[in-house]
Amino acid sequence: MSYIAKPKVSHPGMPRNKLGLTSRDYEGTVSTLCAGCGHDSITAAIIQAVFELGVEPHMLAKMSGIGCSSKTPAYFVSQAHGFNSVHGRMPSVTTGASAANRDLLYIGVSGDGDSLSIGIGQFVHAIRRNVNMCYVIENNGVYGLTKGQFSASADIGSKPKKGEANNQEPIDPVSTALSLGATYIARSFSGDKEQLIPLLKGALMHRGFALVDIVSPCVTFNDHEGSTKSYAHTRQFYHHVIDMDYVPPAEEIKAAYAKGDAMPIEMHDGSTIVFRKVDQDYDLTSRASAFKYLRERFHAGEISTGLLYLDESRAEMHELMGNIDTPLSQLPFEGLNPGNAELKKLQKGYR
């Protein structure tokens, strides 16, 4: 685990971001997950995303629950605080953390067991409150640390290594989030870094609750024939619906436009998401049509990926509550306490 020191070697020619940092500066301790675990690819994508965004490392807060996925915040951005909480409760901790300090950038890393079984209550309520965070689900359909039981995201007919195939309806985080009104919803695959990095960048910069559901095969317990969350199965049924790119504020939008049907959506901070429909029938701004499309493709056995829904207009938690812009944790005590004279005055109502 994290007692294994990781050598800090960086090549002088490595690219540097706007803060002058290299991607090495965003690394964490050495992963202790199984060799070939999808989660490690996601960790690499997160590192790349925050590096490219030029996030100040200590302004990131890494939140997680319990499970293989929830260990991963130790493996990226060592210079950021991490909160490895209890099973299924990362959303509430993040909600409270955000309430106290709205200036930090919150990334929550969870798994399908952590978010869709034990923690589904907190998952849905964080969406409902529109907590300003990037919520990553590393979705492999099984419990790894307890050795391969199905989770609530296991597909009907998916076979475990031992025992009976799953016959219960899976809980799909994307359609769940869509029905609850999440404002940024994406799905990707740990094996598709090119698609994943911009999705994560958009999710981190989005104001409000951003879900990135990532199929992330468990090489030890769910990568065999008959599993619907294996590398082979995902590669075969994986389908780009919408590709997107994240363009930071003040940077010129170029590359994507050339192909004809690329469209920009401006985000609250002046950055832009440029998206390109692979499937022309898809409308990522309509909840109803997105829902219909995704359910149909789901029943056809297809894994629809990309930025699947975006609403930049809805207020996030602090705006909904009318909270002051300064982080509450930084308000000086003097302004929080009305003093003894006022206490005397208010007690007149208690006589």
Binding site: H58, H81, P91, T95, A97, H125, N340
Partner: protein, 600 residues
């Protein structure tokens, strides 16, 4: 029997009929005549239609607890009439609505019965069913005012203040008061021998419930984040915090809030939010009751081990399970002291009345941040939801919050390396860094095994090192927590120990026992872990009566467990029927023990 300013009035009504405001009016009128009062509300877990009682103890002597007498019963609820009549103490009075005939079988020779046709009087004077029901309740205030000689000018002034914005309500309420008042004066010899005379014993006092006081205390302590899930009897604590914040915590420049109250989806989320906010440097808290503590336990253990300041108000109600949500007990002492799996123990504070709910709020935040651990304030329904007469609250404007060992950006910058769980000062309390302050402050907060440097571990010695250091911190807590309230004379061989809302009953019991020449010393504990003062108190006595409001002698168990108190000396006196404890119970139990041969 001409008892002046020593009367217990009990009013039986149906809940949801506006009787709460009528009862409040009656109690405050007596209070404004300068006479000390104790108010107790016995209400059902229901919105409308079930029996409810309000008890006003008029106590010129200024006692704090309920009495076990009923001198004047106002029986407005036909459903409970039989029982209410049985409740009247010998020599007392029963007032009933004589609009309808009473059954002849319901008579007692040892009490006086006064019939007043409240319904008929109100039906003749008011229109509409709702108004008639509401005014019937106001009318009994008038009747009681006449019978006990409560100043009608005081009552009217209160009504005028209450309905300042609605003049027509003042008029109708005054009219209803007069209906009861005049009828009583015309038909009964007023005042009764047992009555009220003006005093000057309440001028520096207010009437407040503990939840209001605690909410106010949290606001004054600088709490900025409150997360909660509604649960009786703690709900009104967050209501109060929110109300005070909406008045004092809106930034004048921007009109935006300098506080954040989140109604969580359940208690698991509420405590998670408190931890997240506290980890991020905000003073945050949650109010709850026993079932909430059960749900929060996993996170409470996390906060203990990961060392996150956490403030919880547990307004205890009668358990186990759902129990009796609108009845009081001190039944969460053990579940709070040892909440969560593994070796955990937590700092507890025990307020005895609403004033202490206010004063202990900043202490709870200071202790939580100083000690970096959960602090639970154990109030109860009696303190939290009943109106108590307390000395006017004072705030010390020189107060500076103790934020504990939190490193600044500059301190972090100057450090070679920061290690989160290192005991630098030898008091068991490590230094903390907050997210977003400095990259050198970063660490990974975890509930899994960690070394003193903050790294993950499964190494036996490294694990043990940290849990042993937490015991050093426990001893630091013992030394700095609020001391017990001790009244000691070396002439006395026996003593009483109690906590929280047992205080009023015990103090009064001590007075009553003294009158019988039985003198006991007294120790009212304010915090856990117990200080040396408590250990010493027990050592100094042959017998210590431990008065508490639960079945299993939880405080006694904790005394034996925490300070190895000699359990043969500790005699449990247990009151656990859900009603607030009264002095008669304590006196009777002590006398019974003495009769059995115990030392006094």
């Amino acid at each position: 029997m001409a008892n002046v300013n020593d009367v217990v009035i009990k009013i039986a009504t149906v809940n949801g009929t506006g009787s709460a405001s009528a009862n409040g009016l009656l109690m405050k009128s007596i209070f404004r005549m300068g006479v000390p009062v104790v108010g107790k509300n016995y209400f059902p877990s229901n919105i409308q239609g079930l029996p409810t009682w309000y008890e006003i103890r008029v106590t010129g002597a200024g006692y704090q607890s309920r009495s076990n007498r009923v001198d004047v019963m106002v029986a407005m609820n036909a459903q409970t009439y039989t029982r209410d009549m049985a409740d009247v103490s010998p020599g007392g009075w029963l007032i009933y609505d004589s609009t309808w005939p009473r059954s002849q079988t319901l008579n007692r020779e040892d009490i006086s019965v006064i019939g007043i046709p409240f319904s008929r009087l109100c039906n003749e004077s008011f229109e509409g069913a709702r108004a008639r029901i509401l005014m019937k309740n106001v009318a009994y205030v008038g009747a009681v005012a006449a019978l006990l000689d409560i100043d009608l000018k005081v009552v009217t002034a209160l009504l005028e203040e209450t309905f300042a914005a609605k003049a027509h309500l003042v008029e109708s309420n005054v009219q209803a008061i007069r209906l009861g008042y005049d009828f009583a004066r015309e038909n009964v010899t007023c005042p009764l021998p047992m009555h009220i005379e003006a005093m000057d014993a309440t001028s520096n006092c207010v009437i407040m419930d503990g939840n209001t006081a605690a909410g106010l205390g949290c606001m004054y302590a600088g709490a900025t984040v409150g997360a909660w899930y509604p649960i009786t009897p703690s709900t009104s604590l967050m209501d109060a915090f929110r109300k005070f914040c909406s008045r004092y915590r809106v930034d004048p420049k921007t009109g935006k809030n300098t506080y954040c109250v989140i109604q969580a989806e359940d208690e698991l989320a509420a405590i998670g939010m408190v931890l997240g906010a506290a980890w991020n440097g905000a003073r945050s808290f949650t109010p709850t009751s026993g079932p909430g503590i059960s749900l929060m336990s996993e996170f409470i253990g996390y906060a203990y081990y990961a060392e996150i300041p956490t403030v919880i108000f547990d307004v205890q109600r009668t358990g186990p399970s759902t129990g009796m949500p609108t009845r009081t007990q001190q039944c969460d002492i053990l579940s709070c002291a040892y909440a969560s799996h593994g070796d955990t123990k937590h700092v507890l504070l025990f307020p005895a009345n609403p004033a202490e709910c206010f004063y202990m709020a900043p202490i709870a935040f200071d202790m939580a941040e100083r000690l970096q651990t959960p602090v639970m304030v154990l109030s109860d329904l009696d303190i939290g939801m009943n109106d108590w007469m307390i000395p006017e609250l004072q705030w010390d404007d020189s107060y500076v919050p103790d934020r504990g060992k939190v490193l600044t950006a500059q301190q972090l910058e100057e450090m070679d390396r920061f290690y989160r769980y290192l005991d630098v000062d030898g008091d068991g309390i490590p230094y903390r860094s907050l997210p977003g302050v400095h990259p050198k402050g970063a660490y990974f907060t975890r509930g899994s095994g960690h070394t003193k440097l903050g790294a993950y571990t499964e190494d036996s010695a490294a694990y043990q090192d940290v849990v042993d250091r937490l015991l050093v911190k426990w001893e630091t807590a013992r030394a700095i927590l609020p001391k017990a309230d001790i009244r000691y004379s070396k002439l006395n061989k026996a003593g009483i120990i109690t906590i929280g809302s047992g205080d009023g009953a015990c103090i009064e019991a001590l007075d009553r026992l003294t009158k019988q020449n039985i003198r006991l010393n007294y120790c009212r504990i304010k915090s856990f872990p117990f200080g040396n003062d408590v250990s010493e108190f027990i050592k100094q006595h042959d017998v210590v009566y431990v008065v508490e409001q639960n079945r299993d002698a939880q405080l006694r168990t904790l005394l034996v467990n925490d300070i190895e108190a000699d359990q043969t000396k500790l005699v449990p006196l247990l009151h656990y029927n859900g009603m607030p404890i009264n002095s008669g119970f304590v006196v009777d139990k002590v006398l019974t023990e003495i009769a059995k041969g115990r030392a006094a």
